[in-house]
Symmetry: C2
Amino acid sequence: MSALQKYDIYQAIADPTRREVLKLLAEKERPISEITSHFPMSRTAIAKHLHVLSEAELVVGKKVGREKRYRLQPEPFSELKQWLSYFDQFWGNKLSILKHVVEKGEKEELKVIKAEYES
Amino acid sequence: MSALQKYDIYQAIADPTRREVLKLLAEKERPISEITSHFPMSRTAIAKHLHVLSEAELVVGKKVGREKRYRLQPEPFSELKQWLSYFDQFWGNKLSILKHVVEKGEKEELKVIKAEYES
DNA sequence: TTAATATGAAACTAATTGGTTTCTCTTTTT
DNA sequence: AAAAAGAGAAACCAATTAGTTTCATATTAA
């Protein structure tokens, strides 16, 4: 997160409404009004949520005619994934090992996992 | 998150101090005062953060003599992981495919990935 | 047993958050 | 050209958050 950013991904996803907005935008690009129609609150409230998501770079908006269309920008999720992976050592599942392998690209470790899956 | 819970994992990890506390507790079990020594704020402030983390079930505390020792309870991370995995389709990396494989246990897909790694 | 340590709980505060309403501006539609 | 639709911006508000200070209680150490 740059110093100018007011919101990071952690704050952005803390709000349930914003998480729902992200799910909607995962399906497809949508203008503000269309997003608003899925929630029991005003357009301005949703617009503010979109600003937060935008500052966290989870979404990006472009103007099309009189509409502003937002789409998902999932890159920041990787930071969250990385943060989460730190705690995988205490979760002790195969997934955490696989993640480690994929991130580090260590083929030797992959062989061990392959062997486990084939046994 | 149960209905009685005031904080869920999303809110719990939104605060940078709480994320640091989690990292400290990932290393080992620690009493409140020892945790506090790592931060430029009062013990009561840290105690409150621990209450939040505790409600989110990310930590659990036990009384030992006059100390209250907290340790990590990483189970709630899996909910966050699951939520995150929904967006993997837009991230398009091998990791997301591997996660899918591991979670579903589909060996056939794993063979495809193995082939990719061996090429 | 007295002092020091570790914590809990309550009351208070400033800043932030998540919502509202109102007004304006731009763009489309009729 | 007039009306409708979509959005931005500002002002406002109540609740929540993240911190503080103070005081009380329990436990250990000297």
